[in-house]
């Protein structure tokens, strides 16, 4: 029997100026195909979190997408690639990832450096791909620091 206790991390702890300034934002333009296709196995991550080159490489290998088959028809893939390129990061290396994982970008690592290893391993988090485990507004594209709850499970 697991008892789940959610610990609210007060905004004063996390809301440093740089964090607020760096919150990912959804583009003004939302592509329907992108939301549906890139949001079915995980959240549709904000395009600004990787570079245009990263997205092009990602879209070129969807049949081997981090170990999963996420292959798409050519028309949808072309539409999504163009959308991602238009809305990719303009901040260069901060959002570049040689592994194509958003979690390996310098930006992500720095923004999450206060999250404990135990929190990452928590069964309610399970994966760093699971933004919504802590960012309660992630499904609406809201990663604002004052809406973060880090779940901690105690056995």
């Amino acid at each position: 029997m697991m008892k789940v206790k959610a610990i609210l991390i007060c905004s004063a702890l996390l809301a440093s100026g740089s964090l607020l300034a760096d919150g990912p934002r959804m583009p003004r333009e939302i592509d329907k195909t992108w939301i549906e296709e890139c949001g079915s196995c995980h959240l549709a991550y904000p395009p600004s979190l990787l570079t245009a080159d990263n997205w092009r490489r990602m879209m070129g290998g969807l049949d081997r997408h981090f170990g999963s088959n996420a292959s798409l028809d050519a028309a949808s893939a072309a539409k999504i690639t163009a959308f991602l390129e238009r809305n990719a990061s303009t901040r260069g290396q901060r959002n570049a990832s040689s592994t194509l994982r958003i979690t390996d970008t310098p930006w992500f690592v720095r923004e999450h450096d206060e999250v404990s290893p135990a929190a990452w391993r928590d069964p309610n988090v399970k994966s760093a791909a699971n933004c919504a485990a802590c960012h309660r507004g992630a499904d609406r594209g809201d990663y604002d620091d004052d809406d973060i709850v880090i779940p901690v499970t105690r056995r």
Partner: protein
């Protein structure tokens, strides 16, 4: 400063187009299967065996239940990303098996990944027949 986006809206609109019923799809796949297996008729029992089979092709996704649970009338969760997955059974989730292109996309992805090859038309017919026969939660 931070824009809120109503994400589910676009998904709902996309699903409304080209409606098929699960029974249409069973008939379609059964007809395809009959061209190589004369007299083929979809079987919910064979579909159930397919659904519960441990294929063990990949470590994280050895079977359908890895993400969809052993109860297709209940919600599942993606085994890697933890994103919630709505029930597979149409009785519990009327959006299921209502659009051929979407059904084909997921058979292509999930069969190559979990089963290790594309699924046959007969397997698709049997699986949908089983899911249709599975009551809602």
């Amino acid at each position: 400063m931070f824009r809120l986006i109503a994400l589910p809206l676009g998904i709902g609109i996309a699903l409304a187009a080209h409606a098929e019923t699960p029974t249409d799809l069973v008939a379609r796949y059964a007809q395809q299967a009959a061209s190589s297996q004369p007299g083929f008729s979809a079987s919910a029992e064979r579909g159930r065996s397919f659904f519960v089979r441990k294929w063990n092709v990949t470590d994280k996704m050895p079977d359908c239940a890895s993400c969809h649970t052993e109860r297709p009338d209940r919600a599942g969760s993606h085994v890697i990303t933890a994103k919630p997955i709505k029930p597979l059974a149409p009785a519990a989730n009327p959006e299921r098996f209502s659009k051929l292109a979407k059904v084909e996309k997921w058979f292509r992805r999930n069969c190559t990944e979990v089963v290790g090859r594309e699924c046959s038309a007969a397997e698709k017919a049997d699986l949908i027949e089983f899911l249709v026969a599975t009551g809602g939660a």
